[in-house]
Amino acid sequence: MLSRMNAVSLEILMHEAQNGNRKAYHEVLEQSARLARAFISKRIQNPQDSEDIVQEVLVAIHKARHTYHSDRPYKPWLFALTQYKLNDFLRRCYRRSDREQQGEEVIANIADDSVTFGDRIGEQLDEALEELSDKQREILTKAKIEGYSSREVAEQMNMTESAVKVAIHRSMKQLKKKFEDSE
């Protein structure tokens, strides 16, 4: 009963919002954020990522608000956008993890080579690491040499996990480019 009332009120609120009522619009966005957060947190463990997606959903609601008609229920419209943004996020994650994996394979291949070759590569790796910023080097060392997970690095460095992943990805890309150039 409560949920039915909530659904009805959301539709009325959205209708009001579409007619320029800012207070109603604020209420719609707040309630939508709550619903989207509940939907996403069941599927995404990381609260920071979950909140990022909620924000993307809110922006999507704002951009797509003219496609909603109050004679249709609001929640399916909201959850369609939420699912879409969630899929978008997961797609980005898979792509990123693929690229990280490729970078790891490059380093693993280097480690598998002969000792002499390994020494030379080791020097090159040191040089390449020197070219990274202090922060990038620290993140990369923690994640790839000391074996901390992205989340642990994020906690240690007081950053978000996404930011750590991006930093690792960029550093690996930079290293990969450096090795490719030297070849």
């Binding site: 320029g20 009522n21 249709r72 229920p73 369609a80 879409y84």
Partner: protein, 213 residues
């Protein structure tokens, strides 16, 4: 920026926006446009003279009916694709493919069973060009009807638009041209049909991706 700040910032922007037409309105406009488009050709150029007698052939009738069904389903599906909550419905996404498969099946049966004879090359290139030209208008019509739509299923929307374009041009030409040589149809109608679908899918995908959020 945290979520509360984002909500405040979005609220400050004008909340009122020009609404897209209601789905039923889009569907009505779409159906009317495609019907008028096909009828215009039949009125201006005139249907093939043997249309009535050809309709006694079950395969020809099946071909015409499945193509009309495919066009109708595509029109319904595309009309729903501009609305996020409707575009995720399974039947909106997949039904056009099923009807297109039925249409394609009838074509294959016709190709295998109908007489082929010599290919009429005189009008061959003209037919292929007409197939391409006739297929241009339906996607343009729907991009105008759903000008303010938001496409979260861009790939399905593009493919459905392409099927609509291809099958509409095929149907128009089938109703106008008094040729029943299936080899002619294969070379100058069906291969251009695939080409129209391919090119329209690419162009339509570019358009729909721009309309994503």
């Amino acid at each position: 920026m945290n979520t509360d700040e984002l909500i405040d910032s979005l609220t400050e922007q004008p909340a009122s926006a020009k609404k897209t037409p209601k789905p039923m309105m889009a569907l009505f406009t779409g159906t009317l446009s495609i019907t008028v488009y096909i009828l215009l050709f039949l009125i201006i150029i005139g249907p093939r003279e043997d249309l009535a007698s050809r309709m006694t052939d079950p395969l020809f009738t099946a071909e015409i009916l499945t193509s009309i069904l495919c066009i109708a389903i595509c029109v319904v599906s595309i009309s729903m694709h501009g609305y996020p909550d409707l575009s995720v419905k399974r039947w909106v996404k997949y039904l056009p493919y099923a009807t297109f498969a039925a249409f394609a099946l009838v074509l294959v049966v016709e190709l295998l069973t109908q007489p082929t004879g010599n290919t009429d090359y005189t009008y061959g290139m003209q037919c292929a060009m007409e197939m391409c030209l006739f297929g241009l208008i339906p996607p343009v019509l729907f991009s105008l009807i759903l000008m303010h739509g938001i496409f979260i299923e861009a790939r399905h929307a593009s493919l459905t638009t392409a099927i609509l374009a291809g099958v509409t041009s095929y149907l128009v030409l089938r109703l106008l041209e008094p040729v029943d040589n299936m080899l002619h149809y294969l070379y100058w109608h069906i291969i251009p049909l695939v080409l129209v679908i391919g090119v329209t899918t690419l162009l339509s995908n570019l358009y729909h991706k721009r309309r994503k959020i």
